[in-house]
Amino acid sequence: MSRPQLLSQPTTALTLADVHTQSRKEIGSRLSSPNSRNVSRRQSVTQFGRFLGTSESGGEDSASLKSYAPTLDARLDGESMLGDVAEDTVTPAWRALSAQIERDNPFDVAIAPEDDIISWQLQHEFEDLGFVQRDGSNEEELLELWKAKLKHFFILSASGKPIYSRHGDDKLISHYIGVVQTVISFYQGAKDPLKGFTAGDVRFVMLSRGPLNLVAISRLGESDSQLRTQLESLYMQILSTLTLPSMEKMFSNRPSTDLRRPLQGTEQLLDGLADGFTRGSPSTLLSALECLRLRKTHRSAINDTLLNVRSPNLLYGLIVAAGRLVSVVRPKKHSLHPGDLHLIFNMLFEADSVKAGGGENWIPLCLPGFNNTGFLYMYVSFFSTNTTDDTQGVHERTATAGKDDELAIVLISANKEGFFELRKMRNALVKQLEKNGSMGIIKTAIRKGHATCSDIVPGTVLRHFLYKSRGNVQFTMPSFEPHFHGMVARRKVMTLYAQLHESIHSRTAHLKVQHCVAKDATALAWETPLFELYCVGGPLVTRAALAQGANRIVQWIKREEERVFIIGGAVF
């Protein structure tokens, strides 16, 4: 087996040097002898013109088009790329989802039931089951519905007490919980903890953390490590509610503790996380955050404002727009853990209680990545970017944005009594952001939303991409529109990304570049020490064209790096 050459140095360009084809049985794990092929990736400067034209850029950023273009060719030095073409390298879930996209009527399943079940089910995945009636008459019916769910998460205590299940109430599922517990404890007893197993087309993955056992059950074709990451995140949410020492204390005092009581109200947050995973979350897949694209000068003006108005008890300050980070202020010695930020974003943007409250909030929470032993206090204030806010004069001129129009200011302190102090800081912050024009800039950027792929790379064959900057632990992506409209299509493309991700991350993978062809999509993953890039094109797109598209994304990032990523942030 030959291996692709490891990249000796970080680079921002991609040369499609060596590509080989393999049959689907060899998927992703093996490479045969590469055959060479070269692809021209020469970009003309004018191709970027359109995008620059539509951007808000005035060329003040350090990486301008002009300064970048001349260096382009110099960077295109021989890089080795091994492509891996696998026809139809797909899981049943992926196939089923594919089928859905092409069919108008999802109920039209008579001919190929297996194909359509998953995509049909996805649309019912988040529906409540309801409760078992007192006489048990609807139990069987509910169980059928329950079994049809594509994804389950269970959390149990070490003694087998149910703590959380995404679907179904205790009465309905107690039997299954019992089975899971028996299986887990059998293997734990044998000092050989069970990590996962497959039954039919369903994958079971277990994670044991402290006094808890977490189980993911998926028919969506995710890898074990991806499922494990999801379980880790659920575990982090539990720590965030309780802190590790207090949870451990509860169990050491009473091993049969019913954790649901102290966790009351956390179900919504766990559901939010779980459903995000089921829908497919780029942020979780990549363990990275997304930022609002802003010009560097604009972002640094915001950073300066944050530093200016920083109050003494502030630990972290965040400005978050529709789930994307605008700016961060933090102490030099504490960086922000992406997992912690994910929990915060989930609380703010997935669970409704904070956002819909309409007021300001003061929320005790533990950020386990920062410190899993104690609570911090989080001040949250939401603005809508398309309505007139009352007291603080946050006015908005133009009309409607989408539903992703929320802007939140999040100020975190270790001081439990810090609410009014942070509130004062927020008022000062908003006032200054208004005064220096930053607020308007942020809102404009929010309203603009994600650029489409062809805005970013005009004329590209690419339909979507994920680019993760490893150093910044951040990612950027274009809009899912127009090619991936709706939840099923999105889930489908996320499934593809998950497979690409796995192909370059699994322990047996030695690939740095992975190319894959399916019936209705082609895709490419490319990894360097600097970044991970995943791109998706339509069917029948050639490797060369994909590679060219990938190259142009990388060039775009190179120019836009300081806009799409927060580099450094405001540090005190």
Partner: protein
């Protein structure tokens, strides 16, 4: 009460710190949402921590600006409650008329407030969700049946009620609490609660701006409260937030 009305400002305005306490899911946030935005969400999610909102209430002779702490009822947040009621001039202790245990919890809160909050605090006991038991003539309730004593088919609704009006009222009288039965869903009695509280705040503690809570007007407060709409004498209230007279949409008071 040192200051007297300044001629220039038509209505003196003062702020009142109010805290909502009560078991989880009794409808605290819903009451606030009704009061502040005149809105209702059938599937409101539990509050995490506490929410802070403000709303003005226009009385005939003055404007009260409520600074409201809507606390989370879930037990894990209980230890934070003192932080919110410590400086409060008023408290709304809420229970759910369809859930007996919630009145027990409400009584605990009342006792804790009487022990630990500032002595002059005005406490209102509120039985929420009366729309679920129709015999109460929460007239606006969706059920239609008009007001007054239930029609024949109301047996189910009667079952929904677990805390009788008389029982709760007797307790409230005993403890000198304001008392209302409300529905955040229909809006029944919601603004009345806040107006009654506004009227019941003793002048002595109306210092206008922040920090007033310290003032603590003494035991007479609740007495005044019970006598209800005594608000007229308020001409001697201080005003700090002078320009404020802008009258938002008002609070229907």
């Amino acid at each position: 009460m040192a200051d007297s009305t300044q001629a220039s400002a038509p209505k003196p305005s003062s702020s009142v710190k109010l805290v909502l306490l009560g078991e989880a899911a009794v409808g605290k946030s819903s009451l606030v949402l009704r009061f502040v935005n005149n809105d209702f969400h059938p599937n409101k999610e539990p509050t995490i921590g506490a929410a802070f909102l403000t709303q003005k209430c226009h009385l005939p002779a003055r404007i009260i600006k409520f600074e409201i702490w809507d606390t989370a009822g879930q037990e894990r947040f209980a230890s934070l409650a003192p932080m919110y009621y410590r400086n409060a001039q008023a408290a709304l202790v809420v229970y759910d008329v369809t859930k007996a245990s919630s009145l027990v919890k409400a009584k605990h809160w009342v006792a804790e407030l009487q022990r630990q909050a500032s002595p002059g605090i005005v406490i209102a006991l509120v039985g929420n969700k009366v729309d679920l038991c129709e015999e109460d003539g929460a007239g606006t309730s969706g059920e239609g049946a008009g007001e007054g004593e239930a029609g024949g088919e109301d047996d189910d609704d009667a079952v929904a009620r677990k805390v009788g009006f008389k029982e709760a009222k007797a307790y409230a009288d005993e403890e000198s609490l304001l008392f209302f039965e409300t529905s955040a869903k229909t809006g029944h009695n919601v603004s009345e609660v806040f107006t009654a509280i506004a009227n019941a705040i003793p002048e002595a503690s109306l210092k206008g701006a922040r920090g007033a809570g310290a003032a603590a007007g003494g035991g007479g407060a609740t007495q005044a409260a019970i006598s209800g709409g005594a608000g007229q004498e308020s001409s001697r209230v201080n005003l700090t937030a002078k320009g404020d007279g802008k009258a938002q949409e008002g609070c229907a008071c």
